[in-house]
């Protein structure tokens, strides 16, 4: 039960970390808009989030465990009792990073489309804020449940 309480926060927390990571990648693209030969990069957010949260599709999707005493990894920072450990959401595997296909490639080999990057940057910022609000909402809900007022 305690795991269920913070499940929603954990999920949105992972999303928040990934959004911050993507924001950094997009900032790098914008910073290198004039660098010859630079290839713009990005990663598949959906796949990365599924990877980070153990492929659960939403906050309330965890299956009840068969035994109450099984050590379950409900958080990305938890160390699994056996098997391979999770790398955590804060770091994107370098293999998950992809190069963007240039729609209008330039002669110097730079594939940054500044308009697209800026749009992505703004979009990502908005979604980051959304994740923040979800977490805030969860915290508020939980607090009001604890206080009982």
């Amino acid at each position: 039960m305690p795991a269920r309480l913070t499940e929603s926060i954990d999920f949105h927390g992972s999303a928040l970390m990934l959004r911050a990571e993507r924001q950094k990648v997009l900032a790098g693209n914008i910073a290198n808009a004039d660098t010859p030969g630079f290839a713009a990069r990005d990663f598949d957010f959906k796949a990365a989030l599924a990877d980070a949260t153990g492929a659960q599709s939403g906050p309330a999707m965890a299956k009840p465990s068969a035994s109450a005493f099984v050590v379950s990894t409900t958080h990305i920072g938890h160390v699994a009792g056996s098997g391979s450990g999770d790398t955590g959401a804060s770091r994107i595997d370098s293999t998950a990073m992809k190069y963007r296909n240039a729609e209008q490639p330039s002669l110097d080999g730079n594939t940054v489309d500044l308009d697209r990057e800026r749009a992505n940057f703004a979009d990502n910022a908005l979604r980051y804020e959304a994740a923040l609000r979800f977490i805030n909402g969860s915290v508020r809900n939980m607090l009001s449940a604890i206080r009982g007022d």
Binding site: Q23, K24, A27, A31, F38, Y128, E129
Partner: protein
């Protein structure tokens, strides 16, 4: 916290772009400079940008070198000029003012873009700091 790295990334870009602006400024200032006593005119300079990867997968920028333009110097027919040679020509620097203007505009736009990126990151971080409050 990877959001903090944005300041490093955009900061490196801003510094690189301002260096580019500096070079443009010195090119523009010397656009009509004549050859000095050694017979050498001012050579137009251009910055070369290079990606500087940060430790955790970010991509900053640095100015890897400043190259001198190899195009020949401008020769202008001005027989009345005190520095004119035997045929009445003076030798000016090889700066192309129109190109430099375009360069300046591009640098200033890129500078602004990176400032905006930093502003957005700052706002997001500020909101993150207020997480769980209110």
């Amino acid at each position: 916290m990877s959001m903090m790295k944005i300041f490093n990334i955009s900061g490196s870009a801003i510094s690189a772009q301002s260096q580019r602006l500096n070079v443009v400024a010195s090119n523009m200032a010397n656009a009509e400079s004549l050859a000095g006593p050694d017979g050498q005119t001012y050579k137009s300079r251009q910055v070369v940008f290079q990606t500087e990867p940060t430790k955790d997968g970010g991509a900053g920028v640095k100015v890897s070198s400043i190259i001198e333009d190899k195009t020949p110097a401008k020769r202008v027919y001005e027989p009345g000029h005190p520095m004119a040679d035997g045929e009445g020509f003076i030798t000016q620097s090889n700066v192309n003012v129109v190109e430099e203007m375009v360069n300046m505009m591009s640098a200033s736009r890129s500078y602004q873009n990176n400032i905006e990126v930093m502003n957005t990151a700052r706002q997001l971080l500020q909101k993150t700091l207020q997480l769980g409050q209110s």
